[in-house]
């Protein structure tokens, strides 16, 4: 399960930056569309990364005590 959320989180980071790169090279011309993709990627990142990293943080604390 954790490997899946990790992959989703990393993909969401890729999806965050990809629209802006397409916009830079003129492959995506609508800035509002870029903003929407960024917002969607942001939401996915915070859900997936929280599941991935928060749990990891807690495990570290448990292991260290």
């Amino acid at each position: 399960m954790r490997i899946i959320v990790k992959i989703i989180a990393l993909l969401s980071l890729f999806a965050l930056i990809l629209p802006s790169i397409l916009f830079l090279f003129g492959k995506m011309t609508n800035l509002n569309q870029v903003k929407r993709y960024m917002l969607f990627s942001t939401i996915v990142w915070f859900i997936a990364a929280t599941l991935w990293m928060w749990k990891k943080n807690n495990q570290r604390q448990e292991n260290s005590t």
Binding site: L13, L31, W45
Partner: protein
């Protein structure tokens, strides 16, 4: 302590160039309350990778949005900015490698304990007080940055670039809401917010990068530039993005030297000021100080350039309003026309001329002082980020400010708590958060952030010089190092006076010799070092004579 624990603890303090560290008390927290008064043992030392992640995360924060934009307001040119940042950041990395890390990896003590051995407990308390005050003001700037995001939603009157005091009820209410939220969270849920900061850090770095990418394309479209080579990119940078020329009214003109010294010294408290002794004492080798390059070139290069492009594009797109056009045309019809001004970008020269005309009208009694309407474009991170990246940009501004303000308020609380140990951490943190909130209502702090950051480094730098001299040089002059520990003094007057007199000389250089504050720290370091040697010679002899007399 494992690598993971170290990173976890260090990332709790997260972000910010300016926010980070320094407080001795905060430093002890930052390294997990371990080895506070003993050298870090061999088995607890860490690898290079541990420091790379920590530095990269620490230096990409909300205040970068202000700093980048203020460079543009200061009329910086492309070469001056890019080359100044490359060299200034390299000097900062070298300062970590050659000043801080060699001592850190030899003594392996916290800044707090090292200072206590040299200066005595009472002087360290004073150092903590100075640190706590600076942290509180800095937290105020971070709250200001986040509060600008609320202006996009609620459309209240935002502060201007040259405003010193709050200018609308809406602004005061927004800052109060944001500041109190941050203060309560820092007091109640510091650890939870710190964990959240860890989650947000990679995303935030990429959003900063996105600001730059999108803005570059916007400039290409707005200027109809043809980009076929790196030379074309550089030409666009020079002619449209960082054009140089006059600064906006009320701002100091930034040259190559300003940028270089600012980049070098904006973290002065950490490297030359030795705050990062507490961190780098875990490093196996002193060259691990080079890991700070990740923070410098992600946060203090990429993020500053991206943030500066946001404000540069706002300036590029802004034209004189009808009021300004009328003032300029009526005053000089030969030079200006309605049609030409409507298409002209709003330049610092135009703003200054319109302000001058307005001042003349006030002097002649034609308009009142309160009716003056010529305003200077203001870098407000919220609206700037929203224009580039929409809601994701706005979220970035709030989170960048929050995750930075959280450890800053907390550390300020720890610094003050070290002075008043009987007070609970919760109430001190809450009180500091409230003071920071009040400070945040005054936009002068955020709008003058470049000067404040330079001042921050200057205030704490002399103690770094004291540590450096005490470790490397003082015995070569036949004097004792760690003198407070040796003589059980609570206040080493040689170190104390070296600190105070350096600050006094620095103040005099700024006030009377008109040396800009960005350039005072370099001579200041040598002044502090020389003073400490001379004063130690006098002080140590005096103490010995007194002791011999007693005997």
């Amino acid at each position: 302590m494992s690598d993971a624990e170290f990173l976890n603890i260090n990332n709790e303090s997260n972000t910010s160039l300016e926010a980070e560290e320094s407080s001795a008390a905060a430093d002890t927290h930052r390294v997990g309350e371990e080895y506070e008064r003993q050298p870090v043992p061999q088995h607890a030392l860490l690898g290079f990778g541990s420091f790379i992640g920590m530095y990269a995360g620490e230096h990409c924060a909300g205040t970068e949005l202000m700093i980048g934009s203020l460079f543009v307001a200061a009329g910086v040119g492309a070469f001056d900015l890019v080359v100044g940042l490359i060299i200034g950041n390299a000097l900062a990395v070298l300062s970590w490698m050659l000043f801080c890390a060699p001592i850190a990896t030899r003594v392996r003590l916290t800044l707090y304990y090292q200072l206590e051995k040299i200066c005595g407990r009472n002087l360290v308390t004073l150092y903590n007080l100075a640190n706590g005050v600076m942290f509180t003001i800095l937290a105020g700037a971070m709250i200001t940055v986040s509060a600008t995001a609320l202006g996009v939603w609620f459309n209240f009157k935002m502060p201007g670039l040259n405003d010193l005091v709050p200018n609308s009820v809406g602004w005061v209410v927004a800052v109060a809401a944001v500041g109190l939220l941050f203060a309560v969270c820092a007091a109640y849920g510091f650890k939870a917010i710190s964990k959240f900061a860890n989650v947000a850090a990679p995303w935030m770095v990429l959003v900063f990068l996105t600001f730059g990418i999108i803005m570059f394309r916007q400039f290409v479209d707005a200027t109809q530039a043809e980009i076929h080579s790196a030379g074309d990119v550089w030409a666009l940078c020079k002619t449209a993005i960082w054009k140089g020329g006059q600064p906006l009214p009320g701002q100091t003109k930034f040259t190559f030297w300003h940028v270089m010294f600012f980049a070098w010294f904006c973290n002065m408290a950490w490297h030359i000021g030795m705050s990062d002794l507490s961190v780098l004492r875990f490093a196996r080798k002193s060259w691990y100080g080079s890991a700070s390059a990740t923070g410098m070139y992600v946060g203090h290069f990429m993020a500053w350039l991206a943030a500066s492009m946001l404000f540069a594009f706002q300036l590029h797109q802004t034209h004189p309003n009808q009021y300004m056009i009328e003032l300029l045309v009526q005053n000089n019809q030969a030079k200006y026309s309605q049609a030409s001004l409507e298409k002209s970008p709003l330049t610092p020269d135009l703003i200054k001329e319109a302000m001058q005309i307005e001042d003349n009208l006030v002097n002649k009694g034609i308009i009142k002082q309160v009716d003056k309407k010529v305003s200077v474009p203001t870098p407000l991170p919220g609206p700037l980020a929203y224009s580039a990246c929409g809601l994701a940009g706005l979220i970035c501004v709030v989170i960048a400010g929050w995750t930075t303000a959280n450890p800053t308020i907390y550390r300020a609380g720890l610094a003050f708590q070290a002075i008043m140990p009987k007070t609970s951490r919760f109430s001190v943190t809450l009180a500091i958060g409230m003071v920071a909130t009040i400070a945040a209502m005054f936009p002068a702090i955020a709008m003058k952030l470049l000067g404040f950051v330079a001042l921050y480094g200057l205030i704490l730098m002399p103690m770094g010089a004291v540590i450096f001299v005490d470790f490397w040089l003082i015995q070569k002059f036949g004097l004792q190092s760690n003198y407070a520990q040796l003589t059980r003094k609570n206040f080493n007057w040689a170190a104390g006076l070296a600190w105070f007199v350096t600050l006094l000389i620095g103040w005099a250089l700024v006030k009377f010799a008109h040396v800009q504050i960005f350039f005072v720290s370099l001579p200041g370091w040598f002044i502090a070092a020389i003073l400490y040697i001379i004063l130690s010679r006098i002080y140590q002899k005096k103490i010995h004579s007194a002791e011999n007399g007693l005997i």
